[in-house]
């Protein structure tokens, strides 16, 4: 046993290695991405690691690995589980052979997400076990043991860490990495693997029959446990349990729910030993509803009574406040804090030299009155540039554009989607738009990498997750094969040509595809591409702010004139924007 200071996702990845996982696959999504990233970067790994094109693909591959008798994990963020929900629901029926763990990382407070959904509800919906760690050590231990739990019940196990587990750090005790000795062998059994109605009715009954033993087993394994300390009690789960342990009074009993489904008898017995209980959990009232089913005359405080919000994330001071409001004792009292000083905000922005800014700047120039459906990626930051009018979920740029066209919207509809998102769930929308005669312009922002989640390679990169060369997918060929006739590829850094192509698209009917291709500036920096800096000739600058309004973080206003900082990666776009030719290459004296 060794102790390391690790990120939650690194600890989870190590737990997988200790379980001798055979295959890990997933689609990047904050806060889940570093599990696969850690595994793929590990030079000693014995398992196979893959970035898949979307979560449904990753899920189905991992399920098949399990059916071949091997251990598999697939990782995704919570909304990725929506994409994989179709196989999820029925994989509970077919069951598994080798251990199969689905990691769906939830994001209370939507730090980096489009919603705050609770994956525990999916586990209840599918009737599969769900493990919900309250600390990083527990996350590590749970995922390590989850494969055996999956094998014991022949069920997929949903492992649900949250942002404050995945992206927290702590000292974590690690065990030994184990090497799998399993070999893949699929044993045909149509009654298990072919879910025609006659089979699936039987499988559904079998799934339901597994439930009572499963609930008991989760208690035996110690995932759901309590400590009686007084007449009042808090029932908590997930990272919220850590906050409760930090702030709850010494005489308040604590029950920690680390796994679902919760055994009702066990819960009834715990609640029955108290005069009142409070439930502290993030997002949906999953524990609270279970508690209410068995609480009898014992009052239950929580979300349903208005003491804990349904949205957002917990924190020690908030837990303290909720406990006080419901009349529970705490060992800490926090003093009110003065509001922070009013300052100009510093939101995340597109990098200096990022092609998304340039592409969107050009779109705004050419389509002044346009509508701009967009998608999920770094380019969603284009909201600051006025070129992101809608974002709902992965792949919903082309479909929303086509829907607006179908509705009869007469303004130009210009949608943006990144390379990885296009391959994730954008292609179907494009095929549908061409098939049904939509009138839209599709700008595919192709920077050859899945950038926002930490630069994971994808099929456009030409490298697999583990760095093996692989043929890069041709986005042009995919678009042409879908039936689009206007398919043009151009780098937005060549701003003048890019604007010309946008104008051509504007003049035509039908589905026009523009592939805006320019590698991500961060990838270029890592590959040591050097372009030199640009500089503003102060004697030529007229202070018109045309370059300032472009919004590049490398351009500042100093004494009324523009100035370029050392953040400049040399894309050269500002040179093309300056109306008086005041910007040029920096020449070292």
């Amino acid at each position: 046993m060794v102790v390391h200071y690790l990120l939650g996702n690194e600890a989870i990845a190590h737990g997988c290695l200790e379980a001798a996982v055979d295959v890990a696959c997933g689609y990047p999504g904050t806060p889940s991405s570093e599990v696969i990233d850690t595994l793929r970067m590990d030079p000693d790994r014995a398992c196979k690691v893959e970035w898949s094109v979307n979560e449904k693909v990753a899920f189905e591959e991992a399920l098949a690995v399990s059916w071949c008798g091997l251990r598999a994990i697939c990782t995704m963020k919570h909304v990725g589980l929506n994409v994989a929900a179709d196989p999820l629901m029925t994989s509970a029926y077919t069951g598994t052979k080798g251990g199969f763990v689905i990691m769906s990382a939830d994001d209370p407070f939507a730090h980096s997400s489009q919603n705050e959904q609770d994956s525990r509800c999916y586990a209840g919906f599918a009737r599969i076990p769900c493990l919900d760690p309250s600390t990083l050590q527990e996350a590590h231990d749970m995922v390590r043991d989850a494969f055996a739990l999956s094998e014991e019940f022949s069920l997929p196990v949903l492992f649900r860490p949250t942002t404050r587990i995945c992206h927290s750090k702590s000292d974590v005790k690690l065990g030994k990495v184990m090497i799998s000795e399993r070999t893949a062998s699929f044993e045909k059994d149509a009654r298990q693997y072919v879910v025609i109605p006659a089979h699936t009715r039987v499988l559904h009954r079998e799934l339901n029959q597994k439930q009572p033993a499963l609930k008991k087993r989760l208690i035996e394994l110690g995932y759901n446990r309590y400590e009686i300390r007084g007449k009042t009690a808090v029932i908590c789960g997930g990272v919220g349990a850590s906050y409760v342990r930090e702030v709850a009074g010494h005489d308040v009993s604590i029950a920690i729910i680390g796994a679902y489904p919760i055994d009702e008898e066990w819960l009834r017995e715990f609640i029955g030993r108290h005069e009142k209980v409070m439930v502290i959990e993030e997002l949906s009232p999953v524990i609270e509803e279970a508690a209410r089913q068995v609480s009898g005359f014992v009052p239950v405080y929580g979300k349903i009574t208005g003491h804990v919000p349904y949205e957002g994330e917990l924190a020690p001071d908030r837990v303290c406040e909720y406990l006080h409001a419901a009349g529970f004792e705490t060992q800490i009292t926090y003093q009110p804090v003065k509001a922070p000083a009013a300052l100009p905000v510093r939101p995340p922005i597109l990098c200096a030299g990022c092609m998304h800014r340039t592409a969107m700047y050009a779109m705004k120039k050419v389509f002044r009155d346009g509508i701009f459906p967009s998608d999920i990626g770094c380019y969603t930051l284009g909201i600051q540039l006025g070129t992101v009018d809608t974002t709902i979920c992965m792949g919903a740029s082309i479909t929303v554009a086509a829907g607006m066209s179908l509705a009869g919207e007469t303004r130009d509809i210009v949608c943006t989607i990144g390379d990885s998102t296009f391959l994730h769930t954008g292609i179907q929308g494009l095929i549908n738009a061409v098939y049904n005669g939509a009138n839209i312009t599709v700008v595919i922002l192709d920077n050859r990498i899945t950038a926002m989640t930490g630069h994971q390679p994808n099929p456009t990169t030409g490298l697999t997750a583990c760095g093996v060369a692989t043929p890069a997918v041709s986005i042009e060929a995919v678009c042409r094969a879908s039936g689009a006739t206007f398919v043009e590829t151009v780098s937005p850094n060549d701003l003048v040509t890019f604007i010309d192509v946008l104008k051509s698209a504007r003049s035509l009917k039908g589905v026009k595809v523009i592939i805006a291709r320019q590698p991500c500036v961060i990838s270029e920096k890592r590959a040591k591409v050097i372009r030199g800096h640009y500089t503003v000739h102060q004697d030529l600058c007229i202070g018109c702010k045309a370059c300032i309004k472009f919004g590049c973080p490398a351009i500042e206003l100093r004494g009324g004139l523009a100035s370029i900082t050392d953040l400049c990666p040399g894309c050269g776009v500002c040179v093309q924007i300056c109306p008086v030719g005041a910007i040029g290459r920096e020449v070292k004296e």
Binding site: V3, L7, K169, Y243, R346, C378, T380, G454
Partner: protein
Amino acid sequence: MSFDVMIVGIGGQGTILTSNILGKACVIEGIPVRGAETHGMAQRGGSVESQIRIGQEFGPLIAPGTADLLLSFDLMEAVRAAHWLKPEGYIYSGREYVVPTSVFMQDLPAPTEQMLLEMLGDRPVKVISSREIAEEAGNVLTQNIVMLGAASPVIPLKKESLLEAIRDTVPPKTIDLNLKAFNMGIEAGKK
């Protein structure tokens, strides 16, 4: 009770690396530690924070008004995060001040360096010329290590543990550079 440190700056200034050094130093000393970080899109040039709780066994989050130390790599970010500190908490901030791009784009009023210093109030504040010191150490990118060195006397970890954690954390080729920056930071913090 843990010693809670709030590390703030702008995405790319090395808040995560700095908190990793503190975390590893805790492991070296056998002290429990918890940390929380900003990952994902929020890192793209925006305000970022790393919370680190030395000696903490429970959660990673610090409550506002309770941090023992605020370590900042930018003056404006120090002001933005000052409410996290308890009244007697220490502030160590770099003299760096990057004006947010939004100020230029939207023509917003921005405070001057002097105004920011005044907004930090009458707390124990040390403002360190981190850029100049880092440049003198050999690389402007070591400002975070300069600041860590400056604040290190108030952090309940041994200097040897911090030095070992730095060696273990930074790229091997930059170890000497970073150790130099750390030691220069300690000297600057004494002034």
